[in-house]
Symmetry: C2
Subunit: 374 residues, 2 copies
């Protein structure tokens, strides 16, 4: 997890942005190793906080925060597990303040909280792990949003060989959840390594993946309200009016609805369903990972979709919805599934264990990547 530190060289740059008490320890600052994943899949977390009264560890592989023990040097530690193999977000709670692990370079990109990532490997390499296969690239680029009148970021995966050949590729638009950034599907979702591996195993078609910044900065609607759908419309206008034209002008893509997919997690799931359903001329593959839309939204915005279900079903190569039993959105997701059934819209569903987590988001991603463009 942690990159091994070259201690001697630390002296060269530790004097910036560190608090004074740490500076005073120059030149031989001892790094603390954390997390330490053991061969038996137990994992030790270490955190230095000499003056803290209470340090806990919070993660989704445990049901509730666990108390760390302090040693005489002020380092708090806990060993947990064995832990089911996966890549988990976690943080320390230091006297009620949630903080990332300072000794772990793998940070969860987010607007609002600071978490770190711990990888518990299994006996076989995980599908999200960097394996000995050809690797694609992940690019940060910037486009002008006409509808939002702003320069906005995109993160784009291109498959192995993209720079060497002249092929054109299908494109998958993949939206992250609320408070996530355009980097979250890359850094937490590991979409690049998952696709590298699936392509190497001939399980996925080589494709470009476009990851927008889903926050459209338009207020604070209740997600179950029509206002949330109005907010999704702002994203949709940006996607259709600016993002797709930018991608198609700058990347070698097949500009055809049969070669365009859209999906997202959580808020991004709502945004991708909205974008798909209101643009069936542009998307033939639509997925939702742990999202929901209310019947009211369906009635207001998607009348074309259910007015003639036979036409819709012919247009849709895939409508796929996944959710976990323990997801707090589970009931809404099932309501939406039932609504689609009532409207006679064909769909595929995956109901899994687990909750509203990035472990499930990665699972749904891995499942659907193997269906697209076939």
């Amino acid at each position: 997890m942690k990159k091994t530190i070259v201690l001697g060289a630390v002296v060269l740059c530790l004097c910036f942005s560190l608090p004074v008490d740490v500076k005073a320890q120059r030149p031989w600052i001892q790094p603390i190793e954390s997390p330490v994943v053991h061969p038996d899949r137990t994992v030790t977390f270490n955190f230095k906080a000499p003056n803290a009264k209470k340090v806990e560890l919070s993660s989704q592989f445990i049901k509730e925060p666990q108390l760390l023990k302090r040693d005489t040097s002020g380092i708090w530690s806990i060993t947990l597990g064995p832990v089911e193999p996966n890549l988990y977000p976690y943080n320390f709670i230091v006297d009620s303040v949630a903080v990332a692990d300072p000794n772990n370079v793998n940070i969860f990109p987010n607007e609002r909280f600071k978490s770190s990532l711990v990888d518990i490997p299994g006996q076989r390499p995980a599908i999200y792990a960097a394996q000995d296969v050809l690797h694609g690239e992940v690019t940060h680029c910037y486009y002008k949003s006409k509808s939002m009148n702003a320069l906005r970021p995109l993160v784009i995966y291109t498959p192995p060989g993209y720079r060497q050949n002249n092929k054109k590729y299908p494109v998958f638009y993949l939206v992250s959840g609320a408070t996530d950034t355009e980097e979250t599907w890359f850094k937490v979702g590991r979409v690049n390594f998952i696709l590298d591996n699936l392509i190497a195993q001939n399980k996925a078609v080589p494709m470009i993946v476009v990851m927008p910044y889903g926050n459209t900065l338009t207020g604070t609607p209740d997600p179950s309200s029509l206002k949330a759908a109005d907010m999704y419309k702002v994203f949709n206008d940006d996607l259709i009016g600016s993002i797709i034209p930018y991608v198609e002008a700058n990347y070698r893509v097949i500009p055809d609805r049969e070669k365009r997919a859209v999906a997202g997690f959580s808020r991004g799931g709502g945004q991708s369903l909205f974008a798909g359903f209101t643009n069936l001329d542009k998307f033939a593959w639509i997925c939702s990972y742990s999202a929901f839309l209310t019947p009211e939204v369906f009635e207001k915005y998607f009348s074309d979709v259910y007015a003639n279900p036979e036409v819709t079903n012919e247009q849709l190569r895939l409508l796929w919805l996944g959710v976990g039993y323990e997801d707090f959105l589970y009931k809404q997701a099932v309501t939406f599934v039932d609504l689609l059934k009532e409207k006679k819209i064909e769909q595929k569903n995956l109901i899994t264990t687990g909750g509203h987590t990035w472990m499930n988001a990665r699972l749904y991603l891995t499942e659907t990547l193997q269906l697209f463009f076939k």
Copy 2:
């Protein structure tokens, strides 16, 4: 600084990796805005820590950490400045523990500490700011290091127009400091926006910038020792044997020593001087930002460089060393400058105010980018 939050949608994904007490507040978590930069260049920092006894702010625009004041809701605040326009790292010190700002999406990528970035704009747009010009791209890719027998990351800037044309470009290899990652020159150095702006102003030649991960995982030598140079050699073997071949096989570059530059900050400065001096057949442009090498290193590794200074001076299109008066490496840097003079090696020097900071690193970068390949 902070991306505005769409509150209503927060409910959709806040249930993961947050501590229980925050979860309990669902669905309407109030985000805290921090930092807030005011028009008069004062800046307010806010941090929620109801149980903390003491919260301080640490940054290089202040001489020592400043105490925040707590309000009745447990939010600690301080307004500082006016602050000289620049992009600064900062963090909170909560009961002696240094933490990043949870409400600021702009994180300082580092192995060892967690800081955030605050941008204090001046009257004119900063050279590191995203301006209304054509933008290049920043790509994460992965290469196999033969000498280190590992898959390693590279971050690569390509200039505006790279995907549209068929031109070949000069390449600048840019190494970050100790404990930094391959992302630090991108996220903190802002090399992409600096080059976008300099290219738009016709002040820099369009070029590719390759940013390796400078940590070569080989132990803990004292940086003033010969062992540090031995460590630099490990990086050098990777750069020459694997990084340059990867870049030249995958990007459109001009494979000529006159079209290759190398530079770095802090430990990366030592690594780039080492790589440049031991490979004058490969690099004609060599810079060091706030680094040093000892006379012992010079004697052991660079005998070819000073054995015939006339040849060296003809080969070197640029040898450039920058350091700040307040840098803790200032004396060593001056010793090295004197050593080069004694050896009759021509050089350019820039001595500035300030210390061993990323504000200075960006300044030196901006200066030297305007000299390369002309």
